[in-house]
Symmetry: C2
Subunit: 431 residues, 2 copies
């Protein structure tokens, strides 16, 4: 590898692992600084995770929410991209081992994000569908469409119901939004394009172990989201967890059994760690960092975003695993790197919580601001506007805007190609 | 399966295998007729094949050129779709066996299209990349991008060249258009987004066994396409074929050796047959049909488009395997079905050849009309306009138009996510 031009070689080398919200903010802020920066990611693109569920339900294309790193950082002279997977950190040697070879660093920033947490349940991990990445969302889309097709290939109503029953686990924003978009799929696509199926055969369940939906938000927002979902026909079960999922039957903790081909697991995430650092540098599933983002007890290595646990008196569990935290941490760490060049003191991180929001469906969303909450059409418009603005790249904003307008006025989901291998279960023979 | 409502049951059942240009034209024309129609296809979408190469080179999204059948035929009451693969025809029983069970028919239309022809060369079939379907085009796109990434992970110039040398085989429209779009990729994306690579390291070869490119068109159009390609930096080799491709070395019939990771096979197609009919009903790789599209010696079974060989005195090899033939045949067969209900005589098929065209790159295309040929910017505009009009679905026309305008003004290919599994070959260890 020849990561940086020779004339830049005296500049300190910052290696960033992971190009999520935190990683790309950090690199952008270091644009005109005297650092060499190498981004390592196993994907060649940034994923705008908040809209993954819309890719899954056929409302948006994968290319609308993924953006190639090389395009984001085009023209940034101190930037290089290395498309590979990271294997291990050798902290003492200031070196990181990747599938493509070793890379030496002066500073290492772990912005590795989070991964689906099955809480050790291997059975659910094997049989359920996660939704943390673009390929996973595309798989879910192909599955959703293929289950509809499969239901048309049988006359047995119980088998049809099993194909068309979707169980979403986890009442956080992802679960709420996924359940909502599945219900919309039924009310629009199913109704129009599957005349041989009764739309009522399709059922969407949302299962949440705690007593409320959207626990990160105010109670009234969770309650409002529940009302919206129920109005759209989602069966919301709170205070209930999944006991098992095998032989295509979801068993819930209240004893009920739901025969279903598709369990969507949105019940938890955990920090994505990398091998090589001592256990004392982690807290739970995250790297433990100080208020300057440096990993505890280790020099030159930092963590930001979902994979960083910054434990303070008022935040004993660290910050929430959400995009604004990652962006603000990336921004602060970049400032501190630049300050270090100028001999200025570092700034401790302080999270500025601007609120949170979730969308449920057409004209329905909930928004929590620091001072008050609101829902309905206004919340939905705010949600759309903010997400458009947060998308990376002007082209993607245009594409998403067009697709949203399209869906809004046509009640349509246009992205419905089954491009993954499909499974056909032979059924009754009939003309 | 419960393919059609009971009230339609006395209507004759037409089963159409394959939803390409011929199949969808036939079904559209039978919209308000007293037939029950079932389309069987292994994909749930129609593929606009003429633009596959733009999906491969990152100019268009898969969803822009694929369109779900259920959306095309929404509201067509006599239409049903069966998403499955066909296994065998039982002509005497008027029954077709599919992976999802048997389907009885009154009339069967085989609109199965064509498949890549490797002319028996298993080695090339194993190692080369075809481009006849959307998943294949997406694979080629991921491969193109991944080869560029791989080239950045090594400092060995010979290995870089092997990653970046693309050999396109076949001088028909697909080969010409693919080679042109790869050259454009180098001149735009490579130049901007891979500062660590010299764009000259990327080489595009177009290999054609006969003496000319675009043999279906006038000699001057083939010559013009060759000049365009060479101006864009493609190495065009005519009168040369591929002798072998193993160990990542393409050996040509003139003895030259081209180390290359990617051989794109666009050198031939053959009709896609289905098991069950006697050999006497085929001619070469196609079903032999009479001028009313009926398969020779078999009642109630028809073939249209690429899979149909209609041998006449002035067309000893049948019609060319192109979209306009398929559309016109689908149209004529639909008319004959409708005439049969009214007791009117059948119309023999007559091909109306309106000309042909191929595009090479920005502002460069060639058009053959029955009376004259032209090239350059005007041909390119005509090509774009006609392809936009031929696309299925208003949404896809809008999306393709926007993406084309985007690429034209930004010199950009925006669709560059590597979503397939990538392979990483470990290389030298270096910072």
């Amino acid at each position: 590898m020849n990561l940086h031009p020779t004339e830049m070689n005296p500049w300190p080398h910052i290696v960033v692992v992971g190009g999520g919200f935190g990683g790309i903010e950090l690199i952008k802020q270091l644009r005109n600084s005297a650092f060499r920066i190498t981004l390592i990611d196993k994907n060649n693109y940034h994923t705008f995770q908040p809209l993954l569920y819309q890719v899954a339900s056929g409302g948006l294309g994968a290319d609308a929410i993924g953006y190639p790193f090389r395009l984001i950082f085009r023209g940034q002279k101190n930037f290089r991209f290395l498309h590979t997977e990271v294997k291990q950190i050798f902290a003492d040697q200031q070196r990181i081992e990747t599938e493509a070879g070793n890379v030496d660093f002066d500073h290492l920033v772990l912005a590795t994000g989070s991964t689906t947490n099955y809480f050790g349940n291997k059975e659910i991990e094997r049989n359920s569908m996660p939704m943390k990445s673009i390929p996973e969302a595309l798989n879910l889309r192909s599955d959703l469409l293929e289950e509809c097709e499969a239901a048309t290939r049988t006359s047995d109503v119980e088998i049809q119901k099993k194909h068309l029953r979707f169980v979403v686990v986890g009442g956080g924003p992802t679960g709420v939004e996924t359940a909502g978009s599945l219900a919309e799929f039924r009310n629009t696509v199913m109704k129009h394009d599957y005349p041989e199926l009764d739309p009522k055969l399709m059922e969407v369940f949302l299962v949440e172990a705690s007593a409320n939906l959207l626990n990160g938000m105010r109670a009234q927002s969770g309650e409002k989201a529940k009302q919206y979902l129920e109005k759209m026909g989602v069966v919301v079960k709170v205070g209930v967890s999944v006991s098992s999922y095998q032989n295509e039957i979801v068993v819930l903790s209240d004893g009920s059994e739901l025969p279903s081909k598709t369990l969507i697991w949105a019940a938890g995430v955990k920090g994505q760690l990398i091998a090589g650092l001592p256990e004392s540098s982690t807290v739970g599933s995250r790297f433990q960092v100080d208020e300057f983002h440096k990993i505890k007890g280790i020099d030159h290595i930092y963590a930001i975003g979902d994979s960083a646990g910054m434990i303070t008196a008022d935040r004993p569990k660290g910050h929430p695993m959400v995009a604004p935290v990652a962006v603000q941490q990336g921004n602060n760490l970049a400032k501190n790197f630049k300050n270090s060049l100028k001999g200025l003191p570092k700034k401790p991180f302080k999270y500025n919580d601007k609120g949170s929001m979730a969308t449920v469906g057409r004209n329905k969303a909930v928004v929590d601001l620091p001072s008050f909450s609101f829902g309905g059409l206004m919340a939905w418009l705010v949600w759309m506007f903010l997400h458009l603005m947060l998308l990376v790249g002007f082209r993607n904003r245009v594409v998403v805007f067009i697709d949203w307008m399209w869906s809004y006025f046509t009640y349509e989901r246009a992205l419905r190609l089954i491009v993954r291998k499909y499974n056909v279960t032979p059924t009754a023979s009939e003309s």
